[in-house]
Symmetry: C2
Subunit: 366 residues, 2 copies
């Protein structure tokens, strides 16, 4: 009898983002992944943990984050062993973050399969995620780079796409397909063509591969990162770790994403198109769209009163919000800043952030 594949499966939750599109709630000091956006008492990071917690022991779970968030991660995930929180002194892109997790895992288990997961996305069907992770681990075992694709519900221009080719087989009752290519964020016509064609999936940013497979890819496709990882590897967990980060991590100038640095150039990539009930909650409007409405027709996480107001997102930790005659509006109240805008303008939060920087008000982003 063989051990189940999950014995070697290590979920690695990437939790280093800053989530500026959800300003003013999401801040440098408390980014999106640490917020309870759904109003259910669990942060996005806690949900990411909860989703895979039935699959593996906490000792197999890694969270990789910026050094300044280590205490937040530890506080939010009390069952996670402290040594499983991997700190980046500074962010160097998702490829480097994944590389750092990979060398940690390589020390622990030469047969480790890592599942790179996101900390700030919604998944309404966590059981499907667990099923596809096992399926993907089986395929990854064979040396494939495996990615999870999301079947597109609409011609979204804010995501990258994956063109899917031939069927590779069925694993744990889930069909896998060859990835023909990764595509950058398309324009609307192109996105519509992708949706119509049927063989495209959204790139979810979730990946499953053997640690030795991805390290070999870094060696081949990203030599500077390979050099960094080789320098760091012997120093991990020793007194020399800080010096090694100073010597090898800090000077790394290639801050590529894993998509650009590895996936787009890799030869043997597979995808499981999966129906995860996935949403990246990439804006306040996206959150408004997914949140259940109160009996008064508004998505409110706030003490509030309303007159003739419906389908508004009303967020406030402390203050009472009074809404009169509002529809499809976003109101986000925080201790030092209040954002008010129509939901359809949600992408313009980035313009607010630019203005804050230009006007010397960048401390409102902290």
């Amino acid at each position: 009898m063989y051990a189940p594949i999950t014995a070697h499966l290590y979920p690695v939750i990437l939790a280093g983002g800053v989530g500026s599109r959800l300003w003013p709630r999401s801040r440098k000091s408390t980014p999106k992944q640490f917020l309870d956006l759904l109003g259910d008492g669990r942060s996005m990071l806690q949900h990411a943990y909860d989703r895979v917690e039935p699959l593996v022991s906490p000792s197999q779970m890694l969270v990789i984050t910026n050094a300044e968030y280590v205490s937040d991660v530890a506080a939010q995930l009390p069952d996670l062993p402290a040594e499983n929180i991997i700190a980046e002194p500074v962010a160097r892109g998702s490829a480097a973050a994944i590389g750092l997790a990979a060398i940690h895992l390589a020390r622990r288990d030469p047969d480790a399969i890592m599942a790179v997961l996101t900390a700030d996305h919604l998944m309404r069907r966590p059981e499907t995620l667990r099923q596809v992770l096992v399926a993907a681990a089986e395929l990854a075992q064979r040396g494939e780079l495996v990615t999870l694709g999301i079947r597109p519900s609409h011609p979204e221009t804010g995501y990258g796409y994956i063109e899917m080719g031939e069927t590779l087989g069925v694993f744990n009752h889930m069909p896998a397909q060859r990835v023909n290519r990764f595509l950058e964020k398309p324009d609307l016509a192109t996105a519509q063509a992708f949706v119509d064609a049927g063989n495209y999936a959204w790139n979810s940013g979730m990946f499953i591969w053997r640690v030795d497979t991805i390290l070999a890819e870094f060696e081949q496709q990203m030599p500077p990162l390979h050099h960094t990882l080789q320098g760091l590897r012997p120093a991990l967990g020793t007194d020399a770790e800080a010096d090694a980060f100073a010597q090898f991590w800090m000077p790394l100038t290639d801050h590529s994403t894993i998509d650009y640095g590895v996936m787009e150039g890799a030869k043997s990539v597979a995808v499981f198109p999966a129906d995860l009930g996935w949403d990246d909650i990439g804006s306040w409007a996206a959150l408004l769209a997914i949140l259940e409405k109160n009996t008064d027709g508004n998505a409110a996480q706030a003490r509030h009163v309303q007159v003739d107001s419906r389908n508004n997102l009303i967020f406030s930790a402390e203050r009472l919000i009074a809404a009169v005659g509002l529809e499809d509006m976003i109101i986000v109240d925080t201790p030092d800043a209040v954002l008010v805008m129509p939901a359809e303008r949600a992408q313009d939060v980035k313009k607010v952030i630019s203005q804050l920087r230009e006007q010397g008000l960048a401390h409102y982003l902290d």
Copy 2:
């Protein structure tokens, strides 16, 4: 040579209102008259004082207010003698407030002419107010009840109207007219008819009369109030004052306005229609309409950033407000509550207040 009529002129500023239409800035603890709504560093009460201060000595000025606001009045008007702040233990309507001021003045000057002024209205032409107050005092000297009328700029349904009759003469270069009758708030068609007719003025709530004239009117038209005032009068300024208030003021059940209690039934009433640049700032929309706009097109008393937003009223004492894609909106931020509504819904603040009461949240009104 006679003393100028202003030697006997006593401005009485009514400052007991609660100004709930400007919630959440205007509160029971800090009503409208104590707020710097214009952003010029002076409260509405201070502006009311400033307008008549060139006309009379501070010792001739009275402010009548609720007992709980006496310290606010004293703090905002440091030149006003403490004994000139008249405290009502509880509000009993404007007729009673005016009666209380009248018996105070009767003790000081048997020839006193009182000018009842509002504490929470805007007047852009204070020099015209001073001119008409002198004119009105001359006419009041003769025993007339004199009121100041505002020439209507539009068919406002939120004000009472005065129908003006024959011309009584010119006083201090200002023409006075007989008042035919006072009219309650009209519907729109009626208001339009008033504006078209040309001989109607808005009732400003400002009145000028001899103290003995108004006390005689109370005796004739409001016997219960007369009884109260007769009971209080000998006790004013003595140790018996508190008892007298308990005995005569507290039980007063007729809480009439001066309009209903006296003016509508009085026989000899005159009006000076005056162009005072008057506005009652009766709503957030009214304030938005009168405030100068910033260079970015918004009326903002707040640290704020905006994207594609104009003609909004943005009020915030502390927090930064970020407005995206907003037009003709009201945003009022206070330490414990935030109001957001289109300007055209400004009258519905009263519905918010009703809801707060119904939902056990009345402390947001305090």
